[in-house]
């Protein structure tokens, strides 16, 4: 479509301003800390970055937002936050269903059938290569 298509993938994507980078290993610890500090989990946003998923976790405390940015390979399992914040189970189930992100320790597992029926295509939100 545009000339950027030819450039290497990694550098192409913008990063949300002020986002704090995080890895799978320290995700749970960081979120636990945020929970202790009284942050609310707003939501998580998943983006399809070709080889990887980019997941933003959005937190809020006293109207100030805090974003955690997690880059993870598509095969890797992401630890679920649903044991820290119960509400995360719905967000994670949605990501699992629409993007195919794998989660470990999901509190309630809809098995990829939260929104979509059994006869629907799976992971419809992934960027499709052909179109």
């Amino acid at each position: 479509m545009t000339q950027t298509d030819t450039q290497p993938q990694e550098k192409q994507f913008p990063v949300l301003e002020g986002a704090e980078n995080i890895t799978i290993d320290n995700l749970t610890a960081r979120v636990k800390k945020l929970d202790e500090e009284g942050y609310r989990l707003l939501t998580a946003t998943c983006l399809d970055r070709g080889e990887k998923y980019e997941i933003y976790y959005h937190f809020d405390k006293d109207l100030t937002m805090l974003h955690l940015r997690l880059l993870v390979n598509k095969e890797e399992e992401v630890p679920s936050l649903s044991l820290i914040y119960l509400c995360a189970f719905l967000i994670e189930n949605e990501m699992k269903e629409l993007f195919g992100v794998k989660f470990s320790g999901l509190f309630v597992n809809y098995g990829g059938r939260l929104f979509l029926g059994e006869d629907s295509d799976i992971t419809p939100m992934l960027k499709c290569v052909d179109c």
């Binding site: 950027t4 994507f13 913008p14 949300l16 939260l114």
Partner: protein
């Protein structure tokens, strides 16, 4: 053999205007277990928003939810404006607040009516909806449509409100206030209504954050959280405080919303009085660049969050919508068990469920 009753409630059920299924396990009529099933309204709007031209998306995101359509559009436009660094004319900010508050007003009245309907108080439902029609009329007069007003555009608003119409808004909200004065006390103090709402579906303050609830539900649990306090649009110029209740039950939620209708009326008066003159739309050129923005606004149901990422083309890389009901649904599984079957409609409606928002 268990002496349990396992039944579906929904997707088609007269009390739910929208399809949602609760698989209820009952003992006698006491709910022992509940499993919400979604997916009857999932359309895939987030994906469609990637396929569309970013200007078309204004009309698409409005149709995520028909009750707070304008506020969806505002939130989306705010994100795009953030990416494209568009400064809004002051009048546009005020107009957004006016329409936004009109939406909140009609949405809250709609909800109060539906709540009344959920415990079978038909005439109260009728009364709220009768008053609500006045707001819809004024919306239609000012924007050309009753429900999905399509008044927001990137860089401002599409239509101006004439002084004549501003005066009419003032008279209409005066009239509404007067009529509400007659029936809000019914919600707040009627014996039968209180019998059905007090102590029903309680969420304590301590649990509230982990259940992720937002909006009036959160405020009813004693946490003063209102995204309007971030001061987007013209809210920074309108001095107000979030409405908070402590008891965290259906009654508190009703009271929060009832008080918020008055708050909206007050905000509308202030906004109309302070309304500056001038342009309503900032012209912009080009497409959103490679940047991401998060915007959040307060819907009638709670805070709405958009994550928008552009990629330099007229299409967007990603539009992520986090709607308030999506955050409130998990709390249902904690509110319902232990309650009566008769309370189920009241509790479900007390979060003001907008399934079309939730599933997009």
């Amino acid at each position: 053999m268990s002496t349990r009753t396992v039944i579906p409630m929904g997707p088609q059920h007269p009390v739910f205007p929208e399809p949602l299924q609760l698989k209820l396990s009952l003992k006698d009529e006491k709910i022992v277990d509940v499993a919400p099933a979604l997916g009857y309204v999932h359309r895939g709007i987030e994906k469609a928003a990637e396929k569309n031209d970013f200007t078309q998306n204004v009309f698409l995101v409005e149709r995520i939810c028909g009750i707070c359509s304008f506020i969806h559009a505002v939130c989306y436009c705010m994100a795009i404006e953030d990416i494209m660094k568009i400064e809004l004319p002051p009048r546009a900010n005020y107009l957004r607040v006016i329409w936004g508050e009109l939406h909140r007003l009609h949405s809250h009245m709609l909800w109060l009516g539906l709540l009344a309907d959920s415990f079978g108080f038909e005439s109260l439902f009728m009364k709220f909806w009768e008053i609500r029609e006045r707001i819809l009329d004024i919306l239609e007069k000012t924007t050309g449509a009753r429900v999905i007003i399509s008044a927001c555009a990137i860089g401002g608003v599409r239509r101006d409100i004439s002084d004549e119409h501003l005066q009419e808004i003032l008279t209409v909200i005066d009239k509404c206030e007067k009529e509400l004065n007659g029936i809000i006390p019914v919600v707040m103090s009627d014996t039968t209504v209180k019998r059905r709402t007090v102590g029903v579906g309680v969420i304590e303050k301590e649990k509230a954050i982990h259940l992720g609830i937002v909006g009036p539900v959160l405020r009813a649990s004693g946490i003063a959280q209102d995204a309007r306090m971030t001061g987007y649009g013209a809210y920074k110029y309108l001095d107000f405080k979030p409405v908070v209740e402590e008891s965290g039950d259906c009654y508190a939620r009703a009271v929060v919303r009832a008080k918020e209708t008055y708050q909206s009326i007050g905000l509308l008066r202030k906004a109309i009085n302070q309304l500056p003159s001038g342009d309503i739309l900032t012209k912009y050129k080009g497409n959103p660049g490679k940047a991401a923005a998060v915007s959040r606004v307060e819907q009638p149901r709670g805070e709405l969050i958009y994550y928008v990422e552009g990629n330099g083309t007229k299409n967007l890389e990603r539009v992520r919508v986090r709607t308030p009901t999506f955050s409130n649904v998990p709390a249902l599984s904690k509110m319902l068990p232990g309650m009566e079957l008769a309370d189920a409609p009241v509790i479900v409606l007390s979060i003001d469920p907008c399934i079309s928002c939730t599933e997009r």
